[in-house]
């Protein structure tokens, strides 16, 4: 396309430095299942302390009072722990579903919820392939609860609470690009330890929460049916057809109306 003067058209805006998505890498081979992340998360967001402990065979879920959980799975390589929370998709289904932009993908990467905009329709919950947003069903002024990657803490220059308080260094915070490189390095250096896949690199079009595991991810209860392209892509075709229908339909209808009106006149003329 260069003959159309492409160099100028493709020029990047000069003023602003590009912001890279921040991300968290979770290495389940390092996690010891201490639940420190759960406790520090609850404390950082003023939520009640977790009361139950992880157990093999028990699938604990996040809920309206709890943004992250660690579960234990019995696998072909022994007991493995998995932390769960929002995946912070690159192109989040929840944010594209939200009709008021209350669910919002920030420039830095975290997906946050803004109560002053939210009308509580729960379409984000219907759309999220990971079932992350949780709703306060027993409140007259209900909120959506989900991991925000501690967006406020990030803006103060702090680490997410779970990352800061992980004693086993199972959680690492950085830019998404760096962390994918780091994950690749770990797999390459210890091919016997790791299963050769970074969950979140391509899932749902890529996420800002990245997982390393010693075993295939289906053994850890992951949604492996999740598609590799982004979820908002699924509604794109429909939304793109809207403007054309909006312009063409009235024209076509007017045309038909005019044609049938003349036909009708002819008919009545014939009768008379």
């Amino acid at each position: 396309m260069s003959f159309l003067g492409g160099s100028k058209l493709n020029a990047k805006p000069a003023a602003k430095d590009p912001v890279e998505f921040k991300a968290i890498l979770y290495d389940s081979t390092r996690c010891v299942g201490c639940q420190s992340c759960e406790f520090s998360c609850a404390e950082a967001h003023g939520l009640p302390e977790p009361e139950d402990y992880l157990e093999v065979g028990k699938v604990r879920k996040t809920n309206e009072n709890c943004r992250t959980v660690v579960n234990a799975y019995e696998t072909s390589k022994g007991e493995v722990y998995v932390k769960r929370q929002c995946m912070h998709c690159n192109q989040p289904a929840c944010a594209s579903a939200c009709l008021t932009q209350a669910m919002h993908k920030t420039e830095e990467g975290p997906v946050i919820w803004r109560g002053d905009k939210c009308m509580g329709c729960r379409y984000c919950m219907v759309s999220c392939p990971f079932d992350v947003p949780k709703f306060e069903y027993h409140s007259a002024n209900p909120k959506i609860n989900k991991c925000t990657m501690c967006f406020e803490r990030l803006q103060e220059g702090k680490l997410p609470a779970c990352v800061e308080n992980c004693p086993a260094e199972a959680l690492v915070f950085g830019t998404r690009r760096e962390l994918i490189a780091e994950a690749r390095r770990r797999i390459a250096e210890n091919p016997d330890v790791y299963y050769d896949h970074i969950y979140g690199e391509t899932e749902a079009g890529g996420t800002s929460f990245l997982y390393l595991s010693p075993v295939p991810f289906e053994e850890l209860g992951f949604n492996t049916k999740v598609q590799n392209s982004s979820y908002p892509e699924l509604t794109k075709g429909f939304l793109y057809s809207v403007p054309s229908i909006f312009v063409l339909w009235p024209m076509i209808l007017l045309g038909i109306q005019d044609a049938t009106k003349k036909l009708n006149h002819k008919k009545t003329d014939d009768h008379e």
Binding site: C98, L99, G120, N141, T235, L254, Q257, T260
Partner: protein, 392 residues
């Protein structure tokens, strides 16, 4: 003022079967709604974190709006195709459509956790333009206005505002064209809402063609509702309907049954194409597969054949039966996508609570009450006042 106060008074007997059944349910519904706003949505519904949309969305909104599709189909036939012989049912159909949107979109407010923010996508406290729900929300609002304009001449005639009748009637064609365009997009949009729930809906009901299937089925869903509702109103309000219109009604039903048969054929054919392309043969021999076949054969193919047969034989009772079967089929289809097939593989299924059902019934009964109130006063079924004919 005196005229309005007089019109507010109830007309007709108070102790009818309908009133005896509907009043307690409406009162109970009102109590439940108070509890819902006081203690939260979870206090009267069985919704869960995994199934956040239940009966109120799947039935009240998604199914209700499909049934309200009659208004755009009939106005298309009468004002765009100039099929004047259907003119006598335009007003009652538009009134029904309008009330359906007001009440079923209104029922949406009950399902919103933070309904005071419902105005946000309109005033721009977040224009979520990438959201299908944003489109649906705007369309509901605009379509209600379009339908109100289409119906407004009846209101002006009732109030005796002669000039207003002339002005408002002049706006009808524009409102009709706008309304049909909006309907095309939001009838399909209601299906498009579920496109992102790809792995959550049973593969026999999920495909990228949900929007088109929803749009095509809204044509015969709406017309079946027109046939069903017309048959009832013609009995209940028979004193308002002239002899001529009574006779005319059977001819209209016959015409509608032909259109229904055609639209259902297109829909059935589309469903077959979608099924073949998605390669879901293996699912047919499962429980959900039998249920799918029941829907397709028993509630699409069978009523389609019935519509065609009764059109050929001019069998009015069979037309009404076909309409009822079709409506059941639409309810089944919309619930299969939104509730029954949603999270079909979950360990615990969502089943609506009795309170959700009571609130739904209360909404429907309230709508019928308003409908009856309007029909008893405005020139909807009965002829327009004489002065409207003396234009020239």
């Amino acid at each position: 003022m005196k005229f309005l106060l007089g019109e507010l008074k109830p007309k007709g007997k108070m102790f009818t079967w309908f009133n005896v059944i509907s009043i307690p349910i409406m009162l109970l519904g009102l109590v439940l709604i108070v509890i819902r706003f006081w203690k939260g949505i979870g206090s009267i519904t069985n919704l869960t974190q995994e199934v956040p949309w239940g009966l109120w969305i799947g039935f009240d909104v998604v199914t209700g709006v499909a049934f309200a599709g009659g208004a755009y189909v009939i106005t298309f036939m009468v004002y765009i195709l100039n099929m004047k012989s259907y003119h006598s049912i335009v007003r009652v159909t538009v009134l029904n459509g309008f009330l359906a949107y007001v009440f079923y979109a209104g029922a949406l407010l009950l399902d919103l956790g933070r309904p005071w923010n419902v105005i946000n996508p309109i005033i721009g406290n977040g224009f979520g333009t990438s959201s299908v729900l944003f489109l649906v929300a705007w369309h509901f609002l605009l379509y209600m206005i379009a339908e109100l304009i289409e119906f407004s001449p009846a209101i002006a005639e009732w109030l005796g505002a002669k000039r207003a009748v002339k002005i408002l009637s002049g706006m009808t064609l524009a409102a009709v064209i706008f309304g049909i365009t909006l309907s095309t997009l939001h009838q399909s949009g209601l299906g498009a809402l579920y496109l992102m729930a790809k792995e959550k809906i049973h593969p026999l009901w999920y495909s990228e063609f949900i929007p088109i299937l929803f749009f095509v089925s809204s044509i015969f869903a709406g017309l079946s509702m027109v046939i069903f509702e017309g048959s009832i109103t013609n009995k209940v309000f028979s004193d308002q309907i002239s002899e001529e219109r009574h006779k005319d009604h059977n001819r209209i039903l016959r015409g509608l049954s032909k259109i229904c048969a055609g639209a259902m054929f297109a829909y059935f054919f589309l469903q077959i194409l979608v099924f073949v392309h998605s390669k879901n043969w293996a699912y047919l021999s499962t429980k959900m597969g039998y249920w799918y076949l029941t829907e397709m054969l028993g509630f699409v193919l069978l009523p389609m054949l019935l519509f065609y047969y009764s059109y050929k034989r001019n069998h009015i009772l069979l037309i009404k039966l076909a309409a009822v079967l079709t409506m059941l089929g639409i309810i089944i289809n919309r619930l299969n996508v939104t509730v029954i097939g949603f999270r079909w593989d979950a360990a615990v299924h969502y089943i609506p609570s009795w309170m959700e059902i009571v609130v739904t019934m209360a909404v429907i009964f309230t709508e019928i009450w308003i409908f009856r109130w309007v029909v008893n006063r405005l020139p909807v079924l009965r002829e327009s006042p004489l002065w409207t004919h003396q234009k020239h």
